[in-house]
């Protein structure tokens, strides 16, 4: 029996069920019938696990990939440090971007806007 362990990104992520279904469908279509999926939460999922290829695919799709080492961007951390997060626009590459909201269309993303090309975009938060 093939056992596949799957680590969810965020505990409440509704896509987890779809991801599981995709994995199962793909394996079955490759002739693997005897399989089981297991959820594992430890070690906790982190964006550090994203491959270079994965990051590039995100950017091409229009989602700015996570900028490592910048998981904290809010006021609590800003009270203690002043580091500014520079997220490049996935469309035009400009550094002149600004955060619109800590949460985008899903928990893993924040909503940004580019001040050069004026397009809104999702930023995959460092997690």
């Amino acid at each position: 029996m093939l056992v596949v362990t799957v680590t969810p990104t965020y505990t409440g992520c509704p896509a987890t069920a779809v991801i599981n279904l995709d994995i199962e469908t793909k394996l079955r279509s490759n002739g693997i019938e005897n399989l089981r999926l297991e959820q594992r939460i430890s070690p906790a999922w982190t964006t550090a696990w994203l491959s270079q290829e994965g990051r590039e695919k995100l950017r091409k799709y229009g989602i700015a990939p996570p900028v490592e080492g910048t998981s904290k961007t809010g006021r609590i951390s800003r009270l203690s440090s002043n580091e500014a997060l520079v997220v490049a626009c996935p469309r035009c590459g400009s550094d002149k971007t600004e955060k619109v909201s800590q949460f985008g269309s899903t928990p893993c993303k924040a909503a940004y806007r580019c001040r050069s090309c004026l397009e809104p975009f999702d930023y995959f938060k460092c997690h």
Partner: protein, 258 residues
């Protein structure tokens, strides 16, 4: 499988796990009530996402609670088929949303506490607890950044927003003391090295809330009076209404799935 948590009586550990799971579940349900009603679209999306995180965390805690209880109850039975007196959430979590500012104040007071508690639980002697704490802690840190940011923005905002935030703080403050009042259940988990004592979390929590209130130009109430009872099943009148809404479907159509 033998876990270090075996040293503690199962029913006591179960009770403590319900406190974690029920607080996340009830707060998650409260926050979800904003879906479609927030002041702006970005806030609506943010609140829905935070509610999802909290309900996801509740699932992990309640699944573990069911496993520890060992009576065949899972996350769904625990969430949908218990009545108010069996819930062990903080009274603060079930308080009504009020206006947007009041919701943010409630969220900030709980986020600051959860963030500290989960950090401490990351080194719990019970692996299962530590795993959930690490996972949930990363999410709660985002929630805290955001709720602190909004408490500051609204507190140090217009005279109208400041007055509303001060009123929210005064009405919710007496519910915050419950987070730091330990009882026999806490003593048992402390002895089993599963969790820290609630009293020990208060100093750091106060330094977080003091820093944010100062920047938000809000005055912390002088009183130390604390409403308690939620953690032992004596709730305010609000919980019954939440459950009526949340549990209706499973009560009316037992076992329904889709």
């Amino acid at each position: 499988m033998t876990e270090p948590g075996d040293k503690i009586a199962n029913d006591v550990f179960f009770d403590w796990l319900l406190r974690r799971g029920d607080t996340a579940l009830v707060l998650g349900h409260r926050v979800s009530e904003w879906c479609g009603h927030s002041p702006v679209l970005e806030e609506d999306i943010a609140l829905a996402n935070i509610a999802l995180d909290l309900i996801g965390q509740a699932r992990l805690w309640l699944s573990l609670a069911g496993e520890v209880e060992g009576k065949g109850r899972g996350e769904n039975e625990l969430a949908y088929l218990r009545d108010a007196w069996d819930f062990r959430n903080l009274l603060l979590a079930e308080q009504p949303n009020g206006d947007f500012g009041q919701t943010m104040m409630r969220q900030f007071l709980i986020d600051a506490y959860q963030s500290q508690l989960l950090k401490a639980l990351a080194t719990s002697a019970d692996n299962r607890v530590a795993e959930i704490a690490v996972k949930a802690g990363k999410e709660v840190d985002y929630h805290l950044d955001r709720s602190a940011d909004l408490v500051i923005r609204l507190g140090d905002g217009t005279s109208e927003s400041r007055q509303r935030m001060q009123a929210a703080l005064e009405s919710l403050w007496p519910y915050s003391g419950e987070m730091f009042k330990g009882d026999a259940v806490d003593q048992a988990v402390v002895a089993a090295k599963i969790a820290p004592s609630p009293e020990g979390l208060r100093t750091e929590w106060l330094s977080t809330v003091d820093a944010v209130f100062t920047e938000a130009t809000l005055s912390k109430p002088e009183t130390d009076f604390a409403h308690t009872g939620g953690l032992t099943g004596r709730h305010t009148e609000h919980l019954g209404h939440i459950l009526a809404d949340m549990q209706f479907l499973q009560r009316a159509y037992p076992g329904a799935t889709w």
